[in-house]
Symmetry: C2
Subunit: 327 residues, 2 copies
Amino acid sequence: MRVVVALGGNALDGKTRQGVYAAQVRNALAASRQILEIVKAGHQVVLTHGNGPQVGNLALQQELSAADVPPQPLHVLDSMTQGQIGYLLQREIGNALKECSIARPVVSVVTQVLVDAKDGAFGDPTKPIGPFYDQGTAKRLAKERGYVIRRVKPRGARAFRRVVPSPEPIGIVEAGAISTLVRSGAIVVASGGGGVPVVPDRRGRLRGVDAVVDKDLAAEKLAEAVDADALLILTDVEKVKLSYGKPGERGIDRMTATEARRHAGEGHFPAGSMGPKVLACVRFVERGGALGVIASFRKGAEALEGGSGTRITADPTPREKGRKEPG
Amino acid sequence: MRVVVALGGNALDGKTRQGVYAAQVRNALAASRQILEIVKAGHQVVLTHGNGPQVGNLALQQELSAADVPPQPLHVLDSMTQGQIGYLLQREIGNALKECSIARPVVSVVTQVLVDAKDGAFGDPTKPIGPFYDQGTAKRLAKERGYVIRRVKPRGARAFRRVVPSPEPIGIVEAGAISTLVRSGAIVVASGGGGVPVVPDRRGRLRGVDAVVDKDLAAEKLAEAVDADALLILTDVEKVKLSYGKPGERGIDRMTATEARRHAGEGHFPAGSMGPKVLACVRFVERGGALGVIASFRKGAEALEGGSGTRITADPTPREKGRKEPG
């Protein structure tokens, strides 16, 4: 199968979220072992990743050194984390393949993701990014840089944070080049951090916008773009849960798109965590993809074979009912 | 012709070297116009770029915020500038092509460059990078982080700077993927900042090293890797000069590899500026490339046709003498 694998940014920055290089290498190494297993199982891999901790650190550095170095806009910081994380992933995946004498190019592609300037999210920024500020700094930054600042904690000195829009991804600008590489047999890292968000003007010219595209929804667009068979979203839990953290909590082994949408409607999947992962898988199978899987980042290969995680498939047509699912 | 175009980092950061986003966009826009001209002349383009001002800014930010955010090693900063500059170039080149209704994918590839751990440069770091320090800070950083620090100015409070090795590039790790993209018709941005320097261990596993590979020598390796016909190095002067800045200064229209090596031996090309550009072109034609050109970054397309810049070609074999040069 051709599989788009989505890896959380936290998985790449360790539980301590310290951003220390040695810890990032250890995590890239752990990710590379997972990718190796998936490759050894015979699958083609396109890898995407979050960048939350990394772009947060970069945003904090911009503020702390703003008197001496001009701060870069958020979309540029996104592109920088694509270079940073892409480098570590391609190096460590390449190393892991070499140890098993598997000759396969591994390459990261700087990726822009199209969003719509008229997306409602631009009028209602909700995604907190970067450092926490006290009220005075928050007011100054709002005035000087046009940041939208919200109180994110009920009390405390540093209770304010910048919020940015989280618009829907419409398409992957570099889809053609990524597909070319995938077809050539390369393992491609793309659309890191949800992609660098860009909007077209009337003539189609792109410009960057300060927004954060959800990494899992962008992964779904990537999976469509490369004509993937499966979308595998790796996270820090084994399965999607119903009644998560409540009495009666239970893991889901498999569900159809309609079942998933029903559970989502009943509020089982929180917006900031499992919600977009389930939505990404549902969209993928509704748009023709064979299989969406949400699984632990320690059990990616196993989950693709059905031995772990939660599998999401399209609703069976009457004729297909009772047939075995793909994968 | 298939042309590798090398663009200086200063050309991308403006004359003020301020690192302000708007200025970087203007410069990427100017670069995109040049690339457009070369594409319209019918050539295939692989673009590489320096990162001096950008990586200097990033290194300074690491120091200024080190108390709050863990500093990343230099090779990681290199990968970040590849994302940053690659994004701006691919976006603006894409925009320029769109205005002319030219459908061509434009894509940046995160690129590692192999260097030899036994390269003599590792015993003799010479390339200054990042901020200027006072003596106390210099001593502390040397102790805490193992930096090699040198006095770079005879006097003044901030007279010290970190120096890193500048080893020879041996090969482009992502050569295969880059070639695949080029053959597919894409315009590829690769090997930015001279590439992220990596060394193999005994088992061939790569690790990053804090070094700076000369961008023009890495461009030459890239040109070999993609089987380019021409290596075009764009800079801020019109031609290579003999006796530069001295009485009798004169521009060179064309020279053979042997003539170039002789002029270099006579000290006409300073090590920090024109020296590596001439050496890159000489190596390229000695290793089978048809044409090396050094020209103003405003006249790239013109220079490829012979109307500007300095052309470097292989020494003619006896049989070839008197023939027209390629291009």
